[in-house]
Amino acid sequence: MLFSILAVQETVAEVDGTVETLAKVVSAVTEAVPQSGGAAHLILLLTVFVLAVFLGIEIITKIPPTLHTPLMSGSNAISGITLVGAVLATGADNGPWATILGFSAIVFATMNVVGGFVVTNRMLAMFRTKK
């Protein structure tokens, strides 16, 4: 919310500069996107986080001890999801330093992801029942 208001304030201030305009724009934005602002949005993300934690606990506690090693390597592979962040950080036209950092981040994250899934698969394939 804060961002949008500030940004709109600035832009409009350049254009017109009168206090009334500002007030009108701000109230229009406030009404139109009542829930999409900074803090409210953050709480929405927080809600997603909390739900995912609850869900994780429910599912993980159901996984039998037999599969705990694959679980460890598998969830480790999932934590390589930062790969998405790495791609976003590298892909944007962001200057050489950011690109180098992003490139290395991608290499690291892909090793984590691909290696993790492959080794988990290797382990799990052993668990197929032999009957």
């Binding site: 961002f3 993300l45 997603v48 986080f49 995912a52 869900l55 994780g56 599912i59 993980i60 159901k62 996984i63 039998p64 001890p65 037999t66 599969l67 090693t69 694959p70 460890m72 598998g74 969830s75 480790n76 592979a77 999932i78 934590s79 999801i81 930062t82 790969l83 998405v84 962040g85 790495a86 791609v87 976003l88 950080a89 892909g91 944007a92 962001n94 200057g95 950011a98 950092l101 992003g102 981040a105 991608i106 290499v107 690291f108 994250a109 892909t110 090793m111 984590n112 691909v114 290696g115 993790g116 899934f117 492959v118 080794v119 290797r122 799990l124 394939a125 052993m126 668990f127 197929r128």
Partner: protein, 466 residues
């Protein structure tokens, strides 16, 4: 691809991660579950590549190619016994990626434009700092854990007076630097890298004093942290998928940590600060090992011939000896002669949770023969011969009898209640907990000294000849 479609793909990927994890709840569906998770990752990355801001896809693909290649090689070449190290290594790489991503964000143009505009965005900065801090601790901590598990020579257990104080100091320092980053975004990069260095030091110092056998707990905990780091990154980038996947991993690591601590009857604090209750009144080796009787492979084979129920309790020694295939051969032979064979798997036998299961499954032993501790304990009085193969702490009756022992209260597999116990190990030297084991001197115990694999192979041979 429109941003909305990307968001929808992320939602799909998150759902697939969840369904994939659910698959891991049953051995039958586990392979498919893992493939679904991998598919989710593929969808996520593919969707991200279609993002309008992404330029220079070639570079990205090169990086992905390098990473995939190295990762696959590592994953395919590794020995199953080296699994703990590998997970530690991968975990460290994930942490490193977090550090670099947050660093790249701070070095990027979008960030400088934002700083220049003077807008305040404390939440994003906080999440960036958190992701960098957690990532750096995960990176260095995991690498030290890797080195210890791999028994690299140059890593020694280091502990010195005031270490805890130093750790505290570093932790506070790293958080303080993160705080500076948030309050002075114009110098964000400088603060960030200093913070990352301090956090790296903290990670090293935290883990270096922890005993090698506690490493799995540390790895699970660090894995949980790396999940939380991914969630923090998700808050930075306003990305649901990162938040959800990170939360799932965070929960998984925490639960595994708790399970291990519980099975070892130690508090998480005790593990992290490298303290083991000192075995106050515990007896010395001489006192305990007064009447140890040893046996031979031939004698064991004869006993097995007249048995109906055999229980095999594997431990870390089986992993060291790589004896799992030999065990499979013996098991099949016994089953052919109508001897029932079960395996008693202690939750912390070996060096990571489920370690024994993976090894035995590798050797093609039906997982329905692997029984959990409680199950075998309840039928222990019907066991004719219990073979303890390279296990020690997990069958140490002191846990039940001596309230002052370092493992007091840890639930164990009660092999001492079987009719006869055969213990296969190389010497009378202690296991991870470093204490003597009265089981070796019990009336119904016979020791078979030697390497685990060799011993089992000899028994198999003697049994087959008979």
């Amino acid at each position: 691809m429109s941003p909305d479609l990307i968001d929808l793909s992320y939602l799909l990927a998150a759902s697939l991660f969840i369904i994939g994890l659910k698959g891991l709840t049953k051995p039958r569906t586990a392979v498919r579950g893992n493939l679904l998770s991998a598919l989710a990752m593929l969808i996520a990355v593919a969707a991200t590549l279609r993002h309008q801001d992404i330029v220079g896809v070639t570079g990205l693909l090169i990086a992905v190619g390098i990473g995939s290649f190295v990762g696959t090689i590592l994953a395919l070449k590794i020995e199953m016994t080296a699994m703990p190290q590998l997970v530690a290594l991968f975990n460290g790489l994930g942490g490193g990626a977090s550090v670099l991503v947050a660093g790249a964000y701070l070095a990027g143009k979008e960030f400088s434009a934002r700083v220049a505009s003077g807008a305040c965005f404390t939440d994003v900065l906080t999440a960036t700092a958190a992701s960098g801090l957690i990532g750096a601790v995960t990176l260095s901590g995991s690498l030290v854990a890797f080195a210890k598990l791999q028994e690299l020579k140059f890593v020694k257990d280091v502990s010195f007076p005031g270490q805890k104080l130093l750790n505290l100091f570093l932790a506070v320092g790293a958080i303080g630097l993160g705080w500076m980053l948030v309050t002075q975004p114009e110098h964000a990069q400088a603060w960030y890298w200093v913070m990352a260095c301090v956090a790296t030091g903290l990670g090293i110092l935290l883990v270096i004093s922890i005993g090698g056998a506690d490493m799995p707990v540390v790895i699970a905990l660090l894995n949980s942290y790396s999940g939380l780091a991914a969630s923090a990154t998700g808050f930075v980038l306003n990305n649901n998928l990162l938040i959800i996947a990170g939360a799932l991993v965070g929960a998984s690591g925490l639960i595994l940590t708790r399970i291990m601590c519980k099975a070892m009857n130690r508090s998480l604090g005790a593990v992290l600060f490298g303290t083991m209750q000192s075995g106050g009144t515990s007896l010395s080796d001489e006192e305990v090992y007064t009447s140890v009787r040893s046996t031979s492979a031939d004698e064991v084979a004869m006993m097995l011939e007249v048995s109906q129920n055999v229980l095999i309790v594997p431990g870390y020694g089986m992993a060291v000896a790589q004896a799992q295939h030999a065990v499979r051969d013996l098991t099949n032979l016994l089953l052919n002669r109508d001897v029932d064979v079960q395996f008693g798997i202690h939750p912390v036998a070996g060096r990571m949770p489920g370690h024994m299961n993976v090894l035995l499954a590798e050797a093609d032993i039906d997982y329905e023969r692997l029984k959990e501790m409680d199950e075998v304990n309840s039928t222990m009085d019907q066991v004719d011969v219990a073979i303890v193969l390279g296990a020690n702490d997990v069958v140490n009756p002191l846990a039940r009898t001596d309230p002052n022992s370092p493992i007091a209260g840890m639930p164990i597999i009660d092999v001492d209640k079987a009719r006869t116990v055969i213990v296969i190990k190389r010497s009378l030297s202690p296991g991870f907990a470093g204490i003597a084991n009265p089981l070796f001197a019990a009336d119904n115990t016979l020791m078979l000294f030697g390497d685990g694999k060799k011993a089992i192979t000899e028994i198999t041979k003697a049994f087959d000849d008979a």
